[in-house]
């Protein structure tokens, strides 16, 4: 079952490279998305074998991550079918593009499923290498700058994470394994000082991949320069898979009894992320960069939640689901805006509701979803995190948390109101008329479905999903 998830994309990728046909390439990406979704749903419902091999398995922790990846990838693939029609590039480049998407999703799936820390490391690095081409896809000066920063910063980060793995290996003394379950089993016998040092390196390494400040510098550049479906995948799926590795390593720390220093680091990086977002989002000039900063903020919230523990575990799972769905929908909609207006500059975008009603409303509703407007599931998660802070008597942190979130909300809200209302400037009217045919039906439906999910999950969580979440929380 899981084997299919990992083997199909390899075959598909080879086929895509050999048969350079645009329709076939896009169909392969969609087919893998469909297959991914069907298999994941079946695993969630209890069908199929959960352990593919010694190195890949579905366990209680990664199942929810896999489900989120599946849903987001399906949505992105549907959107991509409409988006790719507008590409004015050679068939060869589209075949490379589809090839890289397949490899990218394969390596993310592999990261989620891997039962071995070393293997997870290898696959996280593989995600960097495969998505670099996707970020560079537009072949402009800016996209090459973004892609270079992305590969370089992430590779160095990941290399430092490997130092962390070596240090973990030193601390584990006579236990010579990197298998997560084995590590959990013997964690209490590990040398605490080495383990603490290992966590610092791994948090910085995988944190760079996850987009935690102060090692987030690649993130706004890469997200803003990549094609919109790729930005959605990066933000809604890639960051999560790096987060899963951090969650697993954090569990080792907890079991070894040195969670306090780890907790401090997580809270520190979380708050720096919130602070950086609050500072930069306020005067930002490019709306895709703004969305990228919002991702940094949400990753910060995840890391704070992880550090708090207790109910916050439940909250961060909800937050992860909500953020992935809402942010994917936001980035995909930003693709529509870009197609219509032909610019990412906030100043040049006005009267989105008049230009295209559906895109305008999607833009506003995505904002409401991401800013935790009830009944968005993010409302519940952020509420639970605040509640945990109050329960644990972190009053100052709680105040700071709310203050920073409010500033960020104001910054993003201001831009959204400015871009969606008002009149379209006269020089843009003609351009928008010309571009309107580019936005096809495929480019609305995924966002609508994801936003409905976000708002429905805030009121009603189906029992099977609740079970999966509870299992994950129990294993954190």
């Amino acid at each position: 079952m899981i084997n299919t998830l990992l083997i199909f994309p390899i075959i598909a990728a080879v086929l895509v490279l050999v048969i350079k046909n645009k329709k076939f390439d896009i169909a392969m990406v969609n087919l893998y998305a469909l297959l991914h979704f069907v298999i994941t749903t079946m695993i969630c419902c209890g069908f199929g074998n959960k352990n593919a091999s010694a190195y890949f398995a579905v366990d209680d922790t990664n199942l929810i991550f896999l489900l989120v990846l599946s849903v987001v990838y399906l949505a992105v693939a549907v959107y991509n079918a409409g988006y790719a029609k507008n590409f004015e590039v050679s068939e060869r480049r589209i075949s490379h593009y589809s090839f890289m998407i397949l490899v990218f999703v394969l390596s993310m799936t592999g990261t989620l499923l891997s039962t071995d820390l070393g293997l997870a490391w290898v696959l996280v690095e593989a995600t960097t290498l495969s998505s670099a081409y996707l970020i560079y896809f537009n072949k402009t000066k800016h996209s090459i700058e973004a892609a270079w920063k992305y590969v370089f910063i992430c590779s160095i980060g990941i290399a430092l994470a490997f130092v962390g793995i070596i240090l973990l290996n030193i601390s584990s003394a006579n236990v010579n394994t990197l298998n997560f379950n084995e590590l959990y089993k013997y964690a209490s016998s590990f040398d605490v000082n080495w383990l603490k040092m290992a966590f610092v390196f791994m948090l910085f390494g995988f944190g760079a991949k996850m987009g935690l400040a102060p090692v987030h510098f690649w993130l706004p550049d890469a997200h803003s320069e990549a094609p919109s479906p790729i930005s959605a995948l990066l933000s809604a799926a890639l960051l999560n898979s790096a987060f899963l590795v951090i969650v697993r390593v954090y569990k080792i720390e907890t079991l070894a009894g040195c969670a306090n220093s780890a907790r401090f680091l997580l809270i520190l990086m979380g708050f720096i992320s919130l602070f950086i977002t609050a500072v930069f989002v306020y005067h930002i000039k490019n709306y895709k960069r703004m969305l990228a900063y919002s991702s940094i903020e949400n990753m910060g919230i995840l890391s704070i939640g992880l550090a708090l523990g207790g109910i916050a575990y439940y909250a961060i799972i909800l937050h992860l689901i909500g953020h992935s769905l809402a942010k994917a929908s936001f980035f995909l909609t930003s693709g529509n805006v870009l197609e219509l207006f032909g610019t990412k500059r906030i100043k040049s975008v006005n009267g989105l509701l008049k230009a295209d009603k559906k895109t305008g409303w999607l833009w506003i509703v995505s904002f409401l979803a991401i800013c935790a407007f009830p009944t968005s599931v993010l409302f519940i998660s952020e509420f639970l995190i605040v509640k945990t802070m109050v329960e644990q008597k972190h009053y100052i942190l709680c105040g700071l948390f709310l203050l920073l979130l409010t500033i960020i909300l104001y910054g993003i809200g201001y831009v959204i109101i400015k871009t969606s209302l008002g009149k379209i400037s006269e020089d843009k009217v003609k351009l928008i008329e010309e571009n309107r045919h580019k936005v096809s039906v495929c480019m609305y439906i995924p966002q609508i479905i994801m936003l409905i999910l976000v708002f429905v999950l805030g009121i009603y969580i189906p029992p099977f999903l609740n079970n999966i979440i509870k299992l994950a929380v129990a294993n954190f």
Partner: protein
Amino acid sequence: MTDGFIILFGLTMLYLAATSRIIAHIRLLIIQGVLLFLICCGEHANGLNIIFMIIETLVVKSIVIPWFLYRVLKKTHSNRDAAANIPHFYCLVISSIILLGGFLLSNYYISSVKLISSMYFGVSISTIIISLWLITIKHKIISNVIEFITMENGIFLLSLSVAKEMPMLVNMGVLLDVFIAVYILGLFVNEINKEFKDLEVSNLSDLKDYEYND
């Protein structure tokens, strides 16, 4: 004997800090690869592992990667990284201090730990730090790639310092990843050269938060 090779390895980092000709840096990568091979020879005698070590150090680290970088260098015609932020003399002094720090750290604090040998640990940690520090002060993109590789070499040495062996699969994966990373970075160096006409890092500072210049 092995200790001598490790010290030589540390000294190559000083050479890297003190020179500006990029072709010399590439030759240095070859030397580092060979030194790593010699260090490995003194360590592991296990059959399958030794084949892997030979492939990793001799074939990849001292032939394939330098050859590839040499080709990139020829294509891009960038010979020197002259205008570093800090003069070479100070580079040399600071690198020496870092190296000394590594030795002191390992001798006073790490020597009590049974599992790792202090010589490896000190040199590898200082190699990683010197590489990271050189990345921040060099001006040419291709030198950044070279320092990235020396950092990977440092990490390789660190992984040798642990008496236990990493699982084979992980080693293979790491090797593959590093190799592909260098390959992709090399491709990007070519693209940057085409797009910007030279390889200055300052070309790549156009994306900003408070300005819009698309």
